[in-house]
């Protein structure tokens, strides 16, 4: 199982980015292999519109089964649901802390978008 974390950095100590579509990177963590890769989202950072949708496409393409992020807008939510990817809301400061929380099973899948679109 692979989980994507929205972030601005490239390692587990990097901060968890509260935004999904406009996060600059994703850390894709493989829970079985205990290994991660970095997915660049820079392109979407500058997208005029539809950043959440493009970010969703990018993480789905990379094979993520779940997303851990701060907030998720309606378009990204719809896109991720269609792909069968669960979204977990987390306020942990770093990717490592979010990963710990995820493993502990304290994160619950979001049941709807929690911010409006255009949440840049």
């Amino acid at each position: 199982m692979k989980i994507a974390f929205s972030t601005s950095g490239e390692n587990l100590d990097a901060p968890l980015d509260g935004r999904f579509g406009r996060a600059s990177k994703f850390i894709l963590y493989d829970l079985e292999k205990e290994y991660f890769e970095v997915i660049d989202n820079q392109q979407n950072l500058n997208a005029a519109q539809g950043a959440g949708i493009q970010a969703a496409e990018a993480v789905v393409r990379a094979g993520a089964n779940g997303i851990v992020t701060g907030h998720c807008g309606p378009n990204a939510y719809r896109a991720l649901c269609a792909a069968g990817v669960a979204i977990y809301n987390c306020e942990a400061p770093t990717v490592a802390a979010a990963l710990t929380a995820f493993r502990a099973g304290v994160l619950l899948p979001m049941e709807s978008a929690d911010v409006e679109g255009h949440w840049v």
């Binding site: 601005s8 901060p15 968890l16 980015d17 509260g18 935004r19 500058n46 005029a48 519109q49 701060g70 306020e91 942990a92 400061p93 911010v115 409006e116 679109g117 255009h118 949440w119 840049v120």
Partner: protein
């Protein structure tokens, strides 16, 4: 003391008006002076006027590109007219005749950059370059760093330029440790306004006591409610029609907005403009009112420490 795991939250005040010409920019300039050390962002990119009051010295200038535009390579065009038939935006026109054949051209003003003509041109004679839509600048002013922009003529997507200006202002605030960003927002309730208010801390709607002001305020409040953003309302030139002012303030309260100070009708606002000064830098009678509005807003610009990671929340 233990390790601080919290992050500073930067406040963003967005001043909008719905209807134009209500004094939004004059108030914004005064706020910039009163705040002293905020980052200022002029997001009224269609008709940016804040620079006329704050006399920015441009430090850096950047091209703003957004989307693409279709350009027909005349020498390869076979004049089949497919592009014209397919264009939903009436952007393809016949501008003349060459050797008995119509000469097609894409009007850049009407082209929405969808790429349909590019994809379906049987002669593959249409280029699709990136479109330069304007420019944005980082400047120094007497009351802090200012990010502003100029949108090219008839350029679309000012929403993206607004996002660019806001993002840059936020980046500067983070780097320099400013706790507050003051944004002069665009008029209307469309895409640029949505881009300027979404995710902000507080929206101030500057309106006037007229039937138009009242009408537009309702639409603006519907928008800020839609995006769940805290909203304050100030009536400018309130004494033009005191009864209407009361009515607008009542409506604002009913819609869940906070009513802050009123600003009187004052010809000295124009005098300040002629002198390239913010109203609060002059002895205009309304300067006192603007200070009151500023105080009522209760934005200190002090860095607030919040729990958890709420940085970059906008």
């Amino acid at each position: 003391m233990g390790q601080i795991m919290s992050a500073a939250k930067i406040e963003e005040l967005v001043v909008i008006s719905g209807k134009g010409g209500t004094g939004k920019t004059s108030l914004t300039a005064s706020f910039a002076v009163l705040a002293g050390n905020a980052v200022i962002a002029d997001c009224d990119v269609d008709a940016a006027d804040l620079h006329l009051l704050l006399a920015p010295r441009v430090l850096a200038q950047h091209e703003f590109r957004s989307g693409h535009e279709a350009v027909i390579r005349m020498e390869e065009c076979v004049a089949c007219g497919v592009c014209q038939d397919y264009c939903r935006f009436d952007a393809v026109r016949i501008i003349g005749e060459v050797a008995g054949r119509p000469e097609f051209s894409v009007d850049p003003v009407s082209c929405e950059g969808c790429g349909v003509c590019v994809r379906f041109c049987p002669a593959k004679a249409i280029d699709f370059p990136e479109r330069v839509c304007g420019e944005w600048m980082v400047s120094e002013t007497r009351c802090g760093t200012m990010v502003h922009a100029r949108l090219g003529l008839a350029a679309e997507n000012s929403g993206k330029l607004v996002s660019t200006v806001r993002r840059e202002a936020l980046r500067i605030a983070e780097k320099n440790g400013n706790g507050l960003i003051i944004i002069d927002g665009p008029p209307g309730i469309g895409c640029p306004v949505i881009s300027s208010v979404s995710g902000s801390s507080l929206v101030l709607v500057v309106t006037e006591p007229t039937v138009s002001g009242e009408h537009d305020l309702e639409r603006v409040l519907a928008l800020t409610k839609h995006f769940s953003i805290g909203t304050a309302v100030s009536v400018n030139k309130w004494d033009i029609n005191p009864a209407m002012t009361e009515r607008i303030e009542r409506k604002a309260r009913e819609a869940g907005a906070r009513v802050v100070g009123r600003v009187r009708y004052d010809s000295a606002v124009t005098t300040a403009q002629l002198r390239e000064l913010a109203v609060v830098e002059t002895d205009a009678p309304s300067a006192e009112d603007m200070r009151q509005v500023w105080n009522d807003l209760g934005l200190t610009g002090n860095i607030r420490i919040t729990d958890g990671v709420e940085s970059l929340s906008s």
